[in-house]
Symmetry: C2
Subunit: 311 residues, 2 copies
């Protein structure tokens, strides 16, 4: 079943202890859609500038990703420059040029409107809500956000969260959104804002899913039983950019590929999320995500499973 994702399609310049890459194809919707494309059909809504050409189109085309919803606008694409030289776990932003993204008005192609899944990547919650409202037929909505929207656009964000089923954010964002430091209380507070499930990403330690009181009770996923998926300890992280978006793509892509959302599907989706994130960080930009095989993905899934599996 198809996923529509709305979010940034961008160019990044990134420096890490492993080296530097200039103006590589990036953006949350790019990482998400590449990761999800190994599991299901993906359609992207976004905006790019005149610097987005045949080379970038080919990356999406090679993975069968529908980009008819990526608008071409006069000017340059969204650009981000960051450094991981001081801390591999957190980027230091050196430059952000919104460019064509500053006046982004999502337009949804008719061909996207039978999508059963919608993912609202990290953009202005006003735009997230507009897309969500324009696609009333979707049966499951996933979403992401970040500190900036939590701090400075909270009222708008809360309106959006009321319509999000599965929210994927990190530890810091969860605590900030809830206003409390205890991870369990923070999760409960966030779930009270609307999401049926909250997936809290812990970076190198994996991710934990918390479930709303009644939301998934009929599936056997209830508030008293969180689920935790590991991340693989990696000997080398070349470029952490996009790990979280790749997690979301693997997670949501796997769910969309399955006929019914059962507890088992949800748990496996958490593992597939970790798997896709672990591939992304092995190379700069989207390089690793562009040329995977399903066999490589399944082999790594087996390693993740073994990592925490008791006989």
């Amino acid at each position: 079943m198809a996923i529509t994702v709305v979010g940034s399609v961008a160019f990044d310049t990134v420096e890490t202890p492993a080296g530097r890459i200039e103006r590589c194809l990036a953006g949350a919707a790019t990482y998400f859609s590449l990761a999800a494309s190994y599991f299901t059909d993906v359609r992207v809504i976004g905006v790019v500038g005149e610097d987005f050409g045949a080379e970038q189109e080919a990356v999406f085309a090679a993975r069968g990703i529908d980009i008819r919803g990526i608008e071409r606008a006069p000017g340059k694409s969204f650009f981000w420059q960051g450094s991981y030289l001081e801390n591999l776990n957190e980027a230091k932003t050196l430059q952000t040029d919104l460019n064509v993204f500053a006046s982004f008005e999502p337009k949804i192609p008719e061909a996207y409107k039978d999508s059963e899944f919608l993912f609202l990547a990290n953009i202005d919650p006003v735009l997230q809500k507009r897309v969500r409202d324009a696609m009333p037929q979707v049966k499951l909505v996933g979403g992401d956000t970040m500190n900036y929207w939590i701090n400075d656009h909270r009222a708008n964000l809360l309106k959006t969260l009321a319509g999000v089923d599965l929210l994927l954010i990190n530890d810091t964002e969860t605590k900030l959104l809830a206003g409390t430091k205890n991870p369990v209380k923070a999760a409960q507070d966030v779930l009270a804002l609307g999401p049926k499930a909250l997936v809290v990403k812990h970076g190198e330690y994996g991710a934990t899913a918390f479930f709303g009181k009644n939301a998934f009770a009929k599936l056997g996923l209830d508030a008293h039983h969180p689920f935790r998926a590991p991340a693989l300890p990696l000997a080398e992280v070349v470029d952490p950019t996009g790990a979280g978006d790749s997690f979301a793509g693997g997670f949501f892509g796997y769910i969309a590929s399955q006929p019914v959302l059962t507890p088992s599907v949800f748990k496996r989706a958490m593992f597939y999320g970790g798997v896709m994130g672990s591939f992304t960080v092995e190379r700069f930009g989207t390089e690793r995500l562009q040329h995977l095989t399903r066999e490589e993905i399944e082999a790594r899934f087996a390693i993740f499973r073994e990592l925490t599996h008791l006989d």
Copy 2:
């Protein structure tokens, strides 16, 4: 099979967001031995002052712990005062009085000398090595250390580590000991110092075991397959003191209770470590560890297992 543990038996005054406790029975050897006592026989080596009386003895006696190796010295017991008011994940030390611990010379009772397991809790590595050398019959040695010994007593620590089979330390200590930030490379470097296995504790995120190149290969535990056990997301942490020592006690106690160390035993031991740590932090001091039942432990083990289990 019996474990002998050498380490601190102390009194703590602790303040946390949940309240304050004055001069409660504490110390690494205390937490370790109480946690391990639910799995196997435990014998303690340490020193206390005149403030250690019938009330404290009764805590050990109730759990069948042999304290003939706890020397009574003139003066006061080791005392530590700390606060978790600012950060529940890291104590701020307000006061440390070594007292009788300053001149501690471990003495090993004859009755301890048939112990097959030895745990060197966090004390001066010179003393750790002395105890280890005095007990050549032990078949498995576990150990712990801390930043102070790593930074200021490295040469002595390295001599001790050469004789430790299973080292249990946290993320920060691992990176400091190895001198590198990458968790996998740091683990490899630490394993090169002697330990056959390194268990890196991640606090609220659980723990990861790394195995030496040839050390446990015959058991199927090799350098390319780390193992990660989760920690349970807890709605309330009353007092984090002793969580790591309780982890070590549950981990090592379970191993000592099993006839053979297999990969399955090692992995389950990691889960039991997490289980015992999760109980400890639910109450101040050793209160929760004093009155558990094996049924409570098994019930929580089942929750830990379910937390990461794929069908």
